[in-house]
Each structure stands twice: as C-alpha cells, then as structure tokens.
Symmetry: C2
Subunit: 336 residues, 2 copies
C-alpha cells in the first residue's frame, strides 16, 4: 500500500534498484531486504525473482526476460508514476552490468530529473566478482579488471583491446558472460589474447552459482580455459603473473614478499620502511630515473626499460621532484 501524506496529493512512487548479491538470503544486505519488503511491485529477470521468492507474498510480480532490460526500466517508471514503490532487482550489484545504467537512460529519455517526484535509490550489493572470489580463495587482492565477453551490445574489437590491455598490464581479470549456447568462440579469443602475455599455466577459476544450491567450482589453467565447462551462470577469474593455487585455494599475493620477510616474523627488508613507499615507489623511481638520465640514459632507453610511453617519461622527468613531504604522524590508510 502506498502511504498518503495528504489526501489531495497522490504519493509519488519510488524506484529502488536492488542488488541482491549472489542469490543467497544470508548474503543480502538489510537494506536490500527492506527495499523488497516495502515494495508494491517487484520486477526482474525470472531467475532473480525466484531467488527472493520468500519475500514476495502479496506483491505484484513482473517477470521479464533478459533481453528486455529496457522494458523492465520502462515498466518500473510507469508503476512508480502511478504511485507505487517498485523494486527492480539485479543479481550481484545493480551498477555492474545490471539495471542501473539502462534505468537512468530510460528515465532521462522520458524527461525525468532528480527533481521529479519519483525518487530513485540504488542499493549496492556484492558483485559476482566478489562472491566468486570469496569461494576460491583470495584471487583479487590487488588491481583487477572486469570484462564482459557479451558482444550483444559492444563491438568485438573494443572487447579484444580490453582483454589485451588487461593481460599486458598484469591485472587479475574477471570475465562476465563468458559463454553461451550461441557465443562459444569469444572465450577462445580471450584465451588467445591472454596467452600473448601470461604463462600457459596461469591459474584460472571458473565459478558457477556461487552460494547457491548448484554451486560448482573448477580450477584450470589459461591454456585449457576454453575447454572448461563454462556456462551462462559462470564467472571466470584469471590470475595475474603472481597468482598461485596452493592447497586448492587461488591466492594472489599483495606484494608483501617485496617488502617484508614473511618467514622472519615480518621483519622489513633492508632498504625498505614500513608505512613508507617502496624504494621503487613513485618518488624513489623518479630519483632513479633522474640519476640514470644524468648519467647518459636517453628517454628512449628509459621508456624501453620500464615499458612506459616515451612521452610520459619525458613529461614526468621534466617536472621538478618536490622535496619529500615532512614526516608526519598521519598514518597511511587505505580505503579498504
């Protein structure tokens, strides 16, 4: 039931884009559950609707098929304009290959702005990359990319450039939509591009239906990735050059071994200081480059040595190196 604050003014509806996470009730956030509970109408792809079946009694349910994403957004707007509270559900996170983008596109096209009576709330959830990673060990740990192999909406050369760039720069990579009955060659091409940069024995994990009844996890290697059992419900995780599988767990180190002696009780390696940039951190690296340049190394030499663009080397060396910031008691803190 929509509340009415004033009997003459109909209550404006609301659209809530709910990321339900991997599809297990325990792994939904409180806010995600609250949003579905308060909704009058719940719209989503039929598989996701089933995942939250216990929350749906008494509500109007609109089941949509996958290629009708624009339809779902349009239905949500129509229901909200009629005064209803609408929960539009996505598995994982609504902002990651989910309904958030298409919904805003449809709303803007319809002339909606944030000043419109219909309000929009996006409720974040753990994306497939996070849920699948949690089931195989700690494969992400460091810099990663997410790439969709679905060329329904994106030209293949764009996808190929992204795969090649991610492999070249040694990111851990999650492949979404890796394969379907119709799209079988894309994963072969992804493997081809990765093998240009990554060892054939690079660990790969394939996770299907994480945290759900039919969960299935397979470990393989890059050179056999395209032969693995990969389906429409799978996420593929490709390790970086440091990732290892040990005791059945896929772990990407964070780089500690560069700085600390893990087997000496965590003592810092000589020349390194805890809480300070590595000697090969930015300032140390710039000092090294300036010294090398002063001794006769050309910009071209340095660009080749560090595999960075020539114009970048030139530009960054042209800027004066500021004095190191004075020691402060402010502790280095990451955002997570």
């Amino acid at each position: 039931m929509t509340e009415q604050q004033d009997s003459t003014a109909p209550q404006a509806g609301k659209i809530m884009l709910v990321g339900i996470g991997p599809g297990s009730v325990d792994h939904m956030t409180l806010r995600a559950r609250q949003a579905i509970a308060e909704a009058d109408v719940v719209i989503g792809y039929v598989t996701y609707i089933k995942l939250v079946a216990d929350l749906l009694e008494g509500k109007e349910i609109i089941r949509k098929s996958m290629t009708e994403e624009l339809d779902r957004a349009v239905s949500a707007l129509e229901a909200a304009e009629a005064g209803k509270k609408v929960a539009l559900i996505s598995s994982g996170d609504a902002g990651v290959y989910g309904m958030a983008g298409p919904t805003y596109e449809v709303l803007f096209q319809a002339g909606w702005t944030p000043e419109h009576p219909v309000q929009l709330e996006i409720i974040p959830g753990a994306s497939a990359i996070n849920s699948c990673a949690a089931r195989v060990g700690a494969p992400l740990t460091h810099d990663f990319c997410s790439i969709s192999l679905s060329d329904l909406l994106t030209p293949w050369p764009v996808i190929a450039r992204r795969l090649d760039a991610a492999a070249y720069a040694d990111f851990v990579v999650a492949l979404y939509n890796p394969k379907s009955g119709r799209r079988t060659r894309q994963i072969v091409e992804a493997q081809r591009l990765f093998l240009r940069h990554r060892r054939p024995d690079t660990p790969v994990a394939i996770v299907k239906s994480a945290y759900r009844r039919r969960e299935r996890i397979e470990f393989t290697t890059l050179d056999r990735m395209s032969e693995a059992d990969i389906g429409m419900l799978s996420t593929v995780l490709i390790g970086n050059s440091n990732t290892v599988v040990q005791h059945g767990l896929m772990v990407t180190p964070r780089g500690y071994a560069n700085k600390y002696h893990l087997d000496e009780g965590g003592a810092t390696r000589s020349g390194e200081k805890p809480g300070r940039s590595l000697s090969t951190g930015l300032l140390g690296w710039l000092e090294t480059l300036q010294a090398a340049h002063a001794e006769g190394a050309s910009y071209e030499d340095l660009a080749a040595e560090y595999r960075l663009p020539l114009d970048y080397i030139r530009a960054t060396l042209s800027e004066p190196l500021e004095a190191a910031a004075p020691d402060s008691s402010e502790e280095e803190m990451a955002t997570e």
Copy 2:
C-alpha cells in the same frame, strides 16, 4: 564462549574474514552481522571497529593500525588455534585490497592447509567501487578496472602501466588509495597518463565516506582531477569515453544506442537483432575481416585499423570461421 562438543577434544576455532561494506549497518549482509555476533574476538583497523561498535558488546576487541595487516592475520590465527571464533573485519569486501590475501599468506606460511582444524570463511561485501558508484549514478555499467595508487607495496612502473593500459582500452576506472598526506604526486601522474587517451572533460567523481555521516561527493573533470579535494577516505571514479554527467548524475551508457533507437520506443536498428550479437560482434567482425583480407587488405592494414596486435589478427584469421550455431530457444543470459 566456545562450544564444546566433546569434553575431551577442544573445539577448533574459526577465522571469518568479514567484508562489512561501506560502513553503514543497513548495508551489511545478514551473514556479516551473524559472523560478528558469533565471534569471540573481533580484530580490525580501528576505524572499521568503530563502524560496528553496536555489535561488539562482550567481545574481545583487538584494534590494529593500518600497516599492521600481517599482525592482524597472525593474531587471528593465534586466537583461532586457542579455540576462539575470530572475526577479522575489512571495510568493503575482504578480497579487494583487504585482509583475504594477507591472511592466506600468513596461514600458508604457518603450515596451515584446508584440512587444518581451524576453518576459514570469507564473507563477501559490496566493495567501495560499488558503494561509491551507487551514490553518483551509474558510472560502472560496463567494463571497469580497479587500480590502487598506493606504492607502499607495488613498484610505480607497474601502477603506471596499469593506468595507461586501462585508459587506452577505455575502461571506467576506480582509483583506490588515491592520495594521502605523504603520497600527493601519484594522482598527478595518474591524470597525466589518463590525458594521453581520454578527453580533458572526461567526468570524474570523488566520493568520500559513502553512506556514512561525513559522506562527500564531488564531480569534476579529468583535467582538474589532481586539484580536487581527495583524501585517504576517497575513491575516485574516472568515466570512459561515453560517460556523461546529466542532471548531476554520472552515467555510463551500456551501448544500447548502438543497437536500439531509444527515442523510437526501443525499436531495433536496421541490421541488428535483439538477443543476437551486434553485426560488429565477434562473428560479424571476423566475416568483415575475411572479406577485407580477400579484397587485398593486409594483416598490417587490419591491425592498424582495429588497433589490435598484428599477431592476433593473423592468428584469428587463420582459424576457420565455424558455421553459426543453430538457432536455439536458449536465451542469452548475463551472470548479472
């Protein structure tokens, strides 16, 4: 209190790596709350401990500072070996620049395996990238990268190559640990690298403390990114070449405009079919390449035209183009 199933055998402890999400109680998962509630010992960086203060009564709390990540993992193992249930908390997701990787490294170093009585559970949560994105619109939508500007543990040239590759391949990019009192130049270098590939007016959003009391959101552009108010609690989101800011919301389109006419009620553009790969999808692209090659275009011409490696073009054109998969009623479905 640890349960005892058998008065002669001490109950093995347990380590739960809990991703608490952005730091608002509503945005924690049920399992995350359960894990903290069942724990005897809660360990974490002091800021995250404060975020879950309401759940901590009666528990042993171990507050650790940020650079003592290995210490936290060691303390967790010691407590678990003494039979305690330990919750080791990370903001966001434990697998993303969090405690998952360091914990496994310490455990393996100590001789732990999955057969050891001490069990490990990773509880996924929404990472900062998802929470921050939900607060600014729909910036992620499509392929994205996550890059940490912290060179405490990673050499700068590695970070620089990743920034340049991500910008070149037109990913949406989230910068974690963008700046601190000590690390002020890294964001300047990131801007320099991005400007090699991305327009100066590319939208950038800076989100601090998403979903928390001191939340602050700033929109700027790439050419002014390094001058913005960025701190240790900020996440920086850099749009791709299609991202726009409209009505104060940052939205990256999913590519619908390539396929559907948004202003004609979603009719499909001529030559395109809903639920089928774009004509520039992999198979259509390969057909185009083969035709061009047959008409005299060299591999070098094609590599230059599509900005893909020469050896890749050569290899993929050498493989026969399989007949298109027979039409099936199997619907294309994304993992999210």
